[in-house]
Every structure is written in structure tokens, then in C-alpha cells.
Amino acid sequence: MVIHKKEVTVLEAMGVLTSPTPEEKVILEEAIKILGVRNFLLNIEAYNFSEPTKEKLVDLRNIVEEFIPYLPHNDLKKGGGELG
């Protein structure tokens, strides 16, 4: 899977700000590829990060959450039905 350029920037910034171990860097990269950065931040607690890394990731989430009201909101279109 190709990583979007912005995901690289997110990963680089996360690397500088949270100082993960090389193993944690791999977890971060995989998790963001699969979940996307937003869902990853919502699910930090589910991953096996060391306490200092987890705390810093939560700090990042806290800062981003305060910014959410200032971020443009893309309203999802409605419509649809049952699966299959």
C-alpha cells in the first residue's frame, strides 16, 4: 500500500513529538495505514505502546481535539440501507 505524503508528515511529526522506539514506529505506521490517523488517535489505548509513548500520543490527541471545532466539517450525505 502506498502511504499518502501527508501520512508521512504525520508520522515524521509523531516521531519527533512522541519519541517512539523503532518497534513502536512500525506499529504507528501500520495502524495509520489501516485505520487512518483520526481512527488511530481514537484507539491509542488499544495498542501496546510503552507508557511514555502512549502518554505523548494522548497529549497529541488532546491538542487536536481542542482544534476540532475550528476544523472544517464535511457533512456526510444521508441515504442507503441494509448490507448485501
Binding site: T9, R38, K56, L76
Partner: protein
């Protein structure tokens, strides 16, 4: 006139933890100014070189996060069949054998994912799911549908009785709120099994939770009657 922006204590602490700028400095600046200025115009708090680098990185992160968040919302994954849901959860839970995890995808009316959350993490053979936790996220997202998923670390490919009764319980809670449980995906090793495909997904309510509108007038009347009754009882007590 500039709008006064208030930030939480958590924001201040997190900013301090990530950048190294002292809480005292952050709070002192934020008393009279917009705290977000610290990010946009870092020199207002006179950071040292290391702190400035961290603030710049934080700005990079926020900018990239904003773009990615928008992109992710535009590229939202849509479930059109049980196999879409199966493959999605397989990518998240496939191969996890250390413990049981329970995930929920919260969907809009178009079956697009609004958010996916791990709602419970358990031991090797069980996870405790609290419908209250799912309800909180569902309401916060104003979702219209749910797809549940959990893994069997032991790789058993059959839904247990508990899996089905728990799904029924979630249907009982959410159906009266017009939130549909569309499927429950079981991940066993590197395979998925769909409860909808297996024709064992509960669709009807077994024990309906009551969410009927409460008529306030009736309540008020009852309250007044109860109050009168209390007063009468007190008066009777006095007479005695």
C-alpha cells in the same frame, strides 16, 4: 473585537508535555490572549530552540492531520455487502491471537463508516462488552447503523451462543432508537464469518427497551398528586 478563546487544563498540560514550554508561561500568556497563538506565533512565549522545533513539529502535525482528516472523510469506506465488512474487520483484527477484542463500526445512513472503535479488550477467551459504551459513541456520532466485530483468539469459526445472545441484546437496545445492527463479523485467524451470511443475525426485538416519549404533563400531574399526598400525610401526622 477578538473572540476570547478558552482552552482546557488538559490542553495546557498536553502542550507543556509535548513542547517543554512551562505551564506557568502558557497560562500566563493565555490569561489575556488566545492560547492558540502559542502554536501560530510561537515567539509570543519566547521558546528556546528545542521548544521552537517541537512547536513547529506540532504545527506540521496539526496541518497534516487536518488535511488527512478531510481526505479520510471524503474517502469514507462504505459497506455494501457482508464481504466488505468482513474484509474491513479482517484487516483490523486478523491474526490477533493474544486476546479477544470487540470493535464496532458506526455508520451513517449510506452505510459509510463514521468511526470505528475498539469498545472492549478482554482475555484470551472473553471480552466484556458494555452496551452503554457503544450507546455513548453511537449517539455522539448520530449514527444510523452498527457493524459489530470480534475475534476468537482460539480461531473457532463458529458464533457461540453468547455471541448471538449479546448481539440480540444490542439489537434490543438500538432498534427502538432506529439504529440498525447490520452485521456481526467474527474474525477467526485469517478468516471472517458474517452473522448475516450465516442467517443467524437477530433482526427482531426480543426484550424491547422502552424509549417511548415521556409526557411531561402526566408526570407533572403525578408529581403534584404525590406532593399533595405528602402534604396530606404530613398534616395527618400533625393531627396525630
Amino acid at each position: 473585537m477578538a473572540r476570547k478563546i478558552k482552552c482546557s487544563e488538559t490542553f495546557f498540560k498536553s502542550l507543556n508535555a509535548l513542547t517543554g514550554i512551562s505551564i506557568r508561561k502558557i497560562k500566563s500568556y493565555s490569561k489575556e490572549n488566545n492560547p492558540f497563538n502559542i502554536l501560530e506565533h510561537p515567539m509570543v512565549v519566547e521558546p528556546n530552540e528545542k521548544q521552537l522545533k517541537k512547536i513547529n513539529m506540532l504545527n506540521e502535525f496539526i496541518a497534516s492531520y487536518s488535511v488527512l482528516r478531510l481526505k479520510e472523510e471524503q474517502d469514507t469506506i462504505k459497506f455494501t455487502s457482508p464481504s466488505d465488512a468482513g474484509n474491513y474487520f479482517l484487516s483490523l483484527l486478523g491474526g490477533m491471537r493474544d486476546k479477544e477484542r470487540f470493535m464496532v463500526a458506526f455508520l451513517d445512513n449510506g452505510n459509510r463508516i463514521i468511526e470505528t472503535r475498539i469498545v472492549s479488550e478482554g482475555t484470551i477467551d472473553m471480552a466484556i462488552v458494555k452496551p452503554r459504551d457503544i450507546l455513548k459513541i453511537a449517539i455522539a456520532n448520530d449514527c444510523s447503523g452498527l457493524v459489530l466485530s470480534h475475534n476468537h483468539p482460539g480461531a473457532s469459526r463458529k458464533f457461540s451462543k453468547e455471541d448471538i445472545s449479546m448481539t440480540q441484546k444490542i439489537v434490543d437496545i438500538f432498534k427502538p432508537l432506529d439504529i440498525r445492527v447490520l452485521d456481526h463479523i467474527l474474525i477467526a485467524g485469517n478468516q471472517y464469518i458474517s452473522m448475516a451470511n450465516e442467517q443467524c443475525l437477530p433482526k427482531r426485538i426480543l426484550n424491547e427497551a422502552k424509549y417511548d416519549p415521556i409526557h411531561l404533563n402526566h408526570c407533572a400531574k403525578e408529581n403534584i398528586e404525590n406532593k399533595e399526598l405528602t402534604i396530606m400525610t404530613e398534616e395527618e401526622d400533625l393531627e396525630l
